[in-house]
Symmetry: none
Subunit: 408 residues, 2 copies
Amino acid sequence: MNPTFEIFSQGEEIVTGQVVDTNAAWLSEQAVAMGFNVTRHTAVGDKLEDLIQVLLDISNRADCCICTGGLGPTSDDLTAEAVAKAFDLPLVFDGIAFAQIQQFFNSRNRPMPECNRKQAMLPQSSIRLANHIGTAPGFALQNGRCWFAFIPGVPSEMRHLFLEHIQPMWVDRFVLRPSKLITIKTVGIGESDLQERINTIEIPPQVQIGFRAELGEVQTKLLFPGDYPQSQLENLTYSIAATIGDTVFAIEGLGHHSGDLVSVVDQLMTAGGHTLAVVEIVSQGLLAAKLIGVSWLLSAVYEQSVERLTQRLAINNLDDLITTSKAIAKAVQKNTGADMVLIQLTSRDYYINPNNDKAVTVTSTLLVNSECNQTVRTIAGDIKRKQHQAALLSLDLLRRCLQGKEIV
Amino acid sequence: MNPTFEIFSQGEEIVTGQVVDTNAAWLSEQAVAMGFNVTRHTAVGDKLEDLIQVLLDISNRADCCICTGGLGPTSDDLTAEAVAKAFDLPLVFDGIAFAQIQQFFNSRNRPMPECNRKQAMLPQSSIRLANHIGTAPGFALQNGRCWFAFIPGVPSEMRHLFLEHIQPMWVDRFVLRPSKLITIKTVGIGESDLQERINTIEIPPQVQIGFRAELGEVQTKLLFPGDYPQSQLENLTYSIAATIGDTVFAIEGLGHHSGDLVSVVDQLMTAGGHTLAVVEIVSQGLLAAKLIGVSWLLSAVYEQSVERLTQRLAINNLDDLITTSKAIAKAVQKNTGADMVLIQLTSRDYYINPNNDKAVTVTSTLLVNSECNQTVRTIAGDIKRKQHQAALLSLDLLRRCLQGKEIV
């Protein structure tokens, strides 16, 4: 079992929501990568009794803990005092810490305010963690079975002290076996469908499985113990991916096919030497925006009125979306010289009142040289969700076509 | 003393740092504004015994608690089961919740997977919180002195359920003295510049001031006690806004000018009866994408090659960006009939190698009827940041022009 790791963030600005606690996420990622089992985040404000209680609880529960914040010079910075009370360790003046704080002000040609002297008072027998980019030194100590490190909440100082002092110290102190994380990425399938398909496969109990839906993709995460045999890990991963099917667009953690849907499409387009022009009526710029930085997108157009678009391209036929799309695609191909052209159209109702939440039908057409692939799909939700879904549908149509998958 | 409020976030993705817990900050802000005293945030992963222990601890400590996450259909979604075990409340099939889940799938023409049935199992005698934008219903219940509400972790669903159900319910159940929150929103100025300007004003000690940078805007937050006189509140707010200057685009909390930069521009464009066409070379679709749902955007174009664009528009002059932009704007105005045309151009180097992190100069041109406003600004950072900054520059140029502010 990997040692357990908790994160304790202190500060009124965090519990009142004025600041988002990005430190906790950053520290957690570092700890997981090192092989710790991160079990809990806690945040409280500047109240001494809360700080003391949380410190005591964590010392009874975790193998190690990083505490951020509350090390400043002002009266609401209470961490050292709380440690002293919780663990019965008097605060002791640390001459080296004090010299470093003075040096910080000297090097900036500023007088040291008297209140900064407080930052040199450290709990007895704690290990000082020198801070080269701010005034607050950190400190580390053991209480019961738990190792604590206390560092400032300013993100740059927090990272500096973690990487400089805590990471090397704890790599030495703990026996860590980093786990292996595999992420299977899918588009166009929901979490519950994924779960149903994966239920047909037997997953060994030591493999943790989790799902994560992000805008644009659903990830199936497999966390293997560090000593899990690589061949078995690969077999299980590939058999899960095969069971999920064509909606899998990437597998991360096996050294290939990584990245999000855009980067997978980018690799395929670049490898094939293709160029693309798009007309995106439903996603309204979002598809082009997602493709920022690729070399193969020649042009992207949004038009509020399909009539104006067809007029400009000198196309007459407006009988149905399927034939209109084809005609637009061919005209755009001629104008731009792109070998691939992607057209998104939808019914006229959509433009007249786009802000209602009714489902709409999107006709997507992908012209590759002279061959047309078309799909018709219904998308629902508010207008932003429809916009996003339409961009995804287009990207996935590209991906399926480039990978030779079935167009659905 | 205001009632105490805790936030409990559940999910491996949070404790392992794959996701930053922005929900906790958003909910805290709402709770503080309602008049609660937010005392603690806790996050744990998908482990049943941890969930049960945290629920029991909170029920002994707080007056109310919002729990996010763990309500999905898959096997790692354990919240309802943890509630059942912690508070000894059997899970009961809720026919109305089930019908709502079925309706969600029906409206999307998709069959409901069997595992979604689990989401209709709610703790006995809990209050169902209908979710109109996702499958997971929330629920609320009292245990000991503590009122709990359980809602999904997907931010849009979380906000919807909080605003729709929990906020009105708890305003009724608790005696609250809400503070008053004023948010001054700016674009194009950094936090430290804001702080320096505001330092010149005397802020009474009972007014809390905070800053928050979000993509696209920096917010200055003023939290006033509930009994702070309204006229003094307004005077202080307006004097701070005046000190900050023209970068202020909205003040929220005084009953007017609310929303983000897009909605402020939308109000101004709609009120003026304007229409817009854009050519966005640097933001590459992002400006159009941000304007989803507005009625006045007639067309948006991205072209990789400015040469091809000028050829298509039959413009010869390519000597400098200023005159080229004007010529493009006039041609686009003629083609689209829009009374306002916005053109973003940049130097040719950018298109040749857009993925380096060098600063680029963006020439923005806004043609209003026959009058041209132009700005030239340098933007830096990676390509996504430049894309975003270019879209913001364009929006802010529109905003300044519509509000009659100086064009900088």
